[in-house]
Amino acid sequence: MTQIFHPSFNTISKVTIFGAVFFLGGGLWLTAEVNRSGYVTNEGVVREQPVHFSHKHHVQGLGIDCRYCHTSVEVSSSAGMPSTKTCMTCHSLVWTNAELLELVRDSYRTDDSIEWTRVHDLPDYAYFDHSIHVKKGVGCTTCHGQVDGMPLMWQENSLQMEWCLECHREPELFVRPREHVFDMDWQPAEEQAALGARLVEEYDIQSLTNCSTCHR
């Protein structure tokens, strides 16, 4: 009887069968990694904007408070994007002829909004409210990172559900006193665990992990 397989087939079949285990394992690991990377989440990715607005310059350099522009953050679900008029409160007086700001002045003249690229975009099936987080002592930097050090805006965290749940499951590890919510450089003066436990008590912070807390 003639041979139907070359002798090398023995090795090939052993390698493929044994190798498949590693191939599948590696594939699963790679998928998990890619799903958590900036390619998928946009975490750490600097987004191109129509006007090169620098939070670093305005916050760190000039000391403008977050709420000067994001006016509704304490009372509404949305922190609010400033209108062109907010920009023009200063820029009608300073840098009035800067080429960089031509688009801003144009928007002011025509009354058409500047079309910013949204950096933090939660999916529509997730309900999120800024005001309650601010009231319960979640600082801006806890979620948004050191915005005062960002020349152009990026997303500091993944915004994936497991990230939300980190805090929702153990809020005491993240909360700070209300009066320091807008501080860019706040550090706990004592052990965070002790402070957090006290604040959780004081602000009546619940660990809300029910599905319908966010998926209503």
Partner: protein
């Protein structure tokens, strides 16, 4: 080399038991058994009947294209299910198919461990039936999700949502039960096929077929060491599969029993479902075996004795199922709960009463024919009873699911369920898929285990020659 029979497990020589002769017709030698079964696969001429049957099955299976396409495009709203009947065809057909699969596992695993020789000629296609039935069953929960591409959310893995499946839900147990079942069934089937693949490899005429069967045979040469390992692996797999016969349908029954809906919340559900599954499975084995035996002239291997045995199993499990129905009524009545009482009267006289009475005819009355030996051994009667049971087991799930859900605790939310054309399309489509797979199986794989049938050959050709005696010496139970 592949003509060597398995060598472990020395038991009483099968030739010694006169009753065994009825499991294979007289006059067969090792070679004639191999020739006959492998010829079905290796013949160049595909029988006309095969083409006709395959074409019809394939056309039915093609119903899946519009049924699944429209479902995915528009969502589960195209089905008739809605509040309060939120589970209808999707789960009825799932349970029906899963149940059918159980006979294959019972035949291959439990009957193997109990050394029931007669399983030899029916285990291969019963296992294939199991595998294909599980395939069809799996489609339903996947499609009912609406977004089947997210099915992996059912599995516990470190996902980006930071959550685990709800381990307290029987539906999650179902995922484990059914995936384990599918995996073990596939392995069992494949391992059992390896020696036969080698036979086909050695007998195939064309090189591509030699190659394909050769790869599938995994280098099987029929060495004593191969047989030894094979026997160990097969026994281990049988041991693994045995609890699955009981556990899978038990878990499926928990889907209902763990709910508080009247008509579901009963402790008898697990054993009653398992018996029902074996009942349904044997009916399907008969449904496939009888035509297969007729058209391919396999009466020598699938003898009347086999069919009679299966008829007996059908009767016994049918009686257990009938007992289950009786107990459902007894417990309902004995509970004293007005909801249970209303559920029972709803079954008997509600809008779906015809389904209930049809169920009684199919599952309780029809199998009683099998008390008569002439019916148990007559192909036509057996086939008829099996068909009744196939329909009856579907009706049973319909009655359990739809009748209970359509009238639950709140009369204001009562509503009737009416399947739409897409419900039927998917159901008929899966039947088509099942039959298509069966037809392909019949054409490309040995429907009866060649090497296991060879172990029966000595009793067929007893005293005919040296070869048979030699084999009988080596050979033990029908493993």
């Amino acid at each position: 080399m592949t003509d060597r029979a398995p060598t472990v497990d020395p038991g009483p020589a099968p030739g010694a038991s006169p009753a065994g002769e009825e499991f294979i017709a007289p006059g067969h030698s090792l070679e004639s058994v191999t020739d006959k079964i492998s010829h079905l696969v290796l013949t160049r001429r595909t029988p006309r009947g095969w083409w006709i049957g395959f074409a019809i099955s394939f056309l039915l299976a093609m119903l899946l294209v519009p049924s699944v396409g429209v479902l995915l495009a528009k969502g589960t709203g195209v089905w008739g299910l809605n509040v309060p009947v939120g589970w209808a065809f999707a789960i009825i057909n799932f349970v029906w198919w899963i149940g059918i699969g159980h006979a294959g596992t019972l035949i291959s695993a439990i009957l193997l461990l109990l050394r029931q020789e007669w399983r030899t000629s029916i285990n291969r296609f019963a296992e294939a039936m199991t595998l294909f039935a599980v395939t069809c069953a799996g489609l339903y929960p996947l499609l009912h999700m609406g977004r089947p591409w997210l099915f992996y959310w059912l599995l516990p893995y470190p996902n980006t949502m930071g959550t685990w499946p709800q381990f307290r839900s029987p539906l999650v147990w179902d995922v484990f039960a059914v995936t384990t079942y599918a995996t073990v069934s596939a392995l069992f089937w494949y391992v059992g096929l390896i020696p036969d693949f080698a036979t086909l490899r050695d007998r195939a005429k064309s090189l591509p077929f030699k190659r394909v069967y050769g790869i599938l045979a995994l280098g099987w040469r029929g060495a004593a060491r191969h047989w030894d390992r094979y026997e160990t692996a097969y026994l281990l797999l049988a041991g693994l599969a045995t609890p699955l016969v009981v556990s899978v349908h038990t878990v499926v029954s928990f889907d209902f029993a763990a709910g508080i809906v009247p008509g579901w919340h009963a402790t008898i559900f697990p054993p009653y479902f398992v018996a029902g599954a074996i009942f349904a499975g044997f009916a399907m084995v008969l449904t496939l075996a009888i035509p297969l035996r007729q058209f391919y002239d396999l009466g020598d291997f699938i003898t009347r004795r086999h069919l009679e045995n299966m008829g007996k199993v059908l009767l016994a499990t049918g009686l257990i199922v009938a007992y289950g129905y009786a107990m459902e009524f007894f417990f309902g009545w004995y509970s004293g709960s007005e909801y249970e009482h209303s559920m029972l009267s709803n079954r008997l006289s509600g809008p779906y009463r015809n389904y209930f009475f049809a169920l009684m005819v199919c599952n309780v009355l029809a199998p009683q024919l099998l008390w008569i030996k002439r019916c148990r051994t007559h192909m036509g009667w057996l086939f008829l009873v099996a068909m009744f049971v196939n329909v009856g087991m579907w009706l049973e799930r319909f009655v359990i699911v739809v009748v209970s859900l359509s009238r639950d605790f709140l009369p204001s939310s009562w509503d009737l369920y009416e399947p739409t054309k897409w419900d039927w399309g998917l159901y008929v489509g899966t039947i088509g898929l099942f039959l298509t797979l069966i037809f392909l199986f019949i054409r490309f794989l040995p429907v009866i285990s060649i090497f296991e049938m060879r172990t029966l050959a000595p009793q067929s050709s007893e005293g005919n020659g040296d070869e048979a005696d030699e084999a009988a010496d080596r050979e033990g139970g029908a493993s």
